[in-house]
């Protein structure tokens, strides 16, 4: 295996907080929610009321903003639904008794205030909002908080691509087995050949053991100039 220096490779595992989703949105939670991070899958399930608890995090309940850029970004990038679709979904739960319509608030400040005082509440606000009295959650990084990365293998930069100055970032969703091994890697974005190299490396990573399988998202950047 070549060293990162010789490969002139810049790599880093970044949180999804670095992507468009979290550039627009800050996730916040009541202090009773005992996690520092949540995956997109879990977050979506919480907002669709399929999940009412998080592994190790206790009871959770979603809080909505009525409108605004954070609301639009959250719907588009996390839930993949329009506002009208989401409202109809919640109404279908409320009118069959299978759930309730989440608390919906007018402003980022109101969301922060409500989340701060409400047991289990999770909300989203614009990235610049002051989040006092609440916990700020990372998105897609359970591994950082709950599954410590113990052993990391760097990918081989395909020589042809490097010579032609082809680089970029590969985004992957990975499933980590309870034993700590990476059970599954799904490349979600980036050059296909770089994705292959990145996935091969990530499959060799080793995380801290845990009681259950977890998911997370990781990104690796390939910089041909370095």
């Amino acid at each position: 295996m070549k060293s990162p220096k010789n490969l002139r490779l810049l790599m880093g595992t970044i949180l999804l907080a670095g992507t468009a989703a979290a550039q627009d949105v800050k996730l916040i939670a009541n202090s009773s929610v005992r996690v520092d991070a949540i995956s997109i899958t879990d977050l979506k399930s919480v907002y669709l009321e399929e999940k009412t608890s998080l592994p190790g995090g206790g009871h959770v309940e979603p809080v909505l903003a009525k409108s605004g850029p954070a609301h639009d970004a959250f719907l588009r990038q996390i839930l993949g639904r329009s506002d009208s679709d989401l409202q109809l979904y919640y109404r279908s739960l409320a009118f069959t008794g299978r759930g309730s319509i989440p608390k919906t608030l007018d402003s980022d400040e109101a969301v922060v205030a409500y989340v701060a005082k409400t047991h289990g509440a999770i909300g989203y606000v614009s990235i610049g909002t002051r989040a006092e009295g609440v916990r700020t959650l990372d998105l897609g990084s359970e591994a950082r908080s709950d599954r410590k990365l113990l052993a990391r293998v760097e990918p081989d930069y395909p020589e042809t691509l490097r010579e032609h100055g082809i680089g970029g970032t590969v985004r992957m969703r990975i499933i980590i087995a309870p034993s700590g091994g990476v059970r599954e890697v799904e490349v979600r974005g980036g050059n296909a050949a770089l994705g292959e190299a990145a996935a091969a490396a990530v499959k060799k990573w080793k995380y801290a053991p845990a009681a259950a399988e977890t998911e997370t998202e990781v990104s690796i950047s390939f910089d041909a100039k370095r």
Binding site: T41, S45, E50, K51, T52, S53, G58, H59, G80, R81, S82, S84, D85, Q87, L88, R91, S92, A94, F95, T96, G97, R98, S100, I101, K103, G120, R173, I175, E184, E186, E213, E215
Partner: protein, 397 residues
């Protein structure tokens, strides 16, 4: 007049309700929600849905209101009252639509007990709430609104859960149910059996219902597929008069089930869905003196597109094919092909209007499986084709 007064009162509360859908009671948040809708139907030729629709009818009103609260993080309770007046059905007699306690042990295992809406197909449990979908009327072969009481809810319980299959495989939702049928004597099933001759009055019907639903949220974003099974074993009693005075009547089912397969795909403003339902009913009537078999196959394909925030266009084609190899009408069969076009106008998220056209061929076999047509409403006989215009408005909070 009663409808006008009701709607005036409800509209007066409209603005208040929009901003206050919960309140505190003993330090718990109690949510309350409600809806009301009013429709008008005009049909060519045949009367439809037990209404005098061939002359134009506004006897199409329904409403509901519910309260619910979380007792603990895992336990919820709630109840909903529902009332409707659809032609000769409902007749303003309110019913307890659902009322149950829901305990979720974990995300993949929960139980509900009480009177529970029956999950079957895409819309069985939400078929009354037309504000949840583009259409004023669902395809009647799959969701016959006239006999909604037969399948809408059960007094018993559900076991349900949501299972994540990992990032690549999507997730599963399952529901298994069992309970007692809770039919209403103002419902379409009782109305159906009045069809002469002979004159028949059903007093009561009881049935054990059981089944389940399994749906897969596939890894393809927006794609859902599922399957449902519904079975019942019923017994009923009443009186009939074949011309020599009333005599005791009884009925019992030998087999009564339906299987339903469905899929739905949502992409941004576009939605398409399809369902297929096969029903098989084999009953003994008149204390076993007569057997009636009904084999109904129904399917539809529907699509919708939200053109603007305030306008949605939608359409479906539905097909109902009914065979009754043994029964009061001999070996009979029939069909209904319904082509629907709908415009939905949303004034805001609480108030909408719908304009809908139906172009139907055939009337099915009304005496055994009402796809919307009843012989009793069409004493001069049914004509083969029916066009309908439906105008409906709804508000909900």
């Amino acid at each position: 007049m009663r409808r006008i007064a009701l709607f005036t009162i409800l509209f007066g509360f409209h603005q208040i309700l929009l901003n206050a859908q919960d309140f505190k009671l003993f330090d718990r948040t109690v949510q309350f929600h409600g809806f009301a809708s009013q429709g008008f139907v005009y049909t060519s030729d045949n009367n439809w849905l037990s209404m005098g629709s061939a002359s134009g009818s506004g006897a199409m009103t329904d409403m509901g209101a519910n309260v619910s609260t979380a007792i603990t993080d895992k336990l919820r309770i709630g109840a909903q009252v529902y009332d409707r007046n659809l032609g000769h059905l409902g007749q303003w007699h309110p019913t307890l639509d659902w009322a149950y306690a829901d305990y979720r042990f974990t995300d993949w295992l929960g139980v509900r007990a009480g009177k529970v809406k029956t999950v079957s197909g895409l819309y069985n449990d939400t078929q009354d709430m037309d504000f949840l979908r583009p259409f004023a009327l669902l395809p009647q072969g799959v969701y016959p609104t006239a006999i909604r009481e037969v399948t809408i809810a059960h007094k018993g319980g559900d076991i349900y859960g949501h299972i994540s299959l990992g990032g690549k495989n999507g997730s599963l939702q399952y529901t298994a149910f069992a309970g007692e049928r809770d039919d209403s004597k103002y419902g379409g099933y009782f109305y159906l059996e009045q069809t002469p001759p002979p004159v028949l009055v059903l007093n009561s019907i009881s049935a054990l219902q059981y089944g389940g639903d399994l749906r897969w949220n596939t890894p393809i974003k927006g794609l859902l597929v599922g399957v449902s099974r519904f079975s019942e074993s019923n017994e009923g009693d009443g009186q009939f008069d074949a011309g020599a005075g009333f005599m005791p009547f009884s009925q019992s089912s030998k087999a009564d089930w339906n299987n339903q397969f469905y899929g739905q795909y949502i992409h941004n403003k576009f939605e398409v869905e399809a369902e297929y339902r096969r029903s098989w009913i084999d009953e003994f009537l008149y204390s076993g003196a007569e057997e009636v078999q009904t084999n109904a196959k129904a399917w539809y394909v529907a699509g919708s597109y939200r053109v603007f925030r305030w306008l949605q266009v939608a359409s479906y084609y539905s097909d109902l094919n009914v065979q009754s190899p043994i029964g009061p009408f001999g070996n009979s069969n029939g069909y209904i092909h319904d082509k629907d076009v709908t415009l939905r106008f949303d004034a805001n998220r609480y108030l909408n209007f719908k304009l809908e056209g139906h172009f139907m061929d055939g009337v099915g076999v009304p005496g055994v499986y009402p796809g919307g047509f009843f012989g009793i409403d069409n004493p001069n006989g049914l004509k083969p084709g029916t066009n309908a215009v439906v105008v409906k408005t709804n508000f909900n909070f």
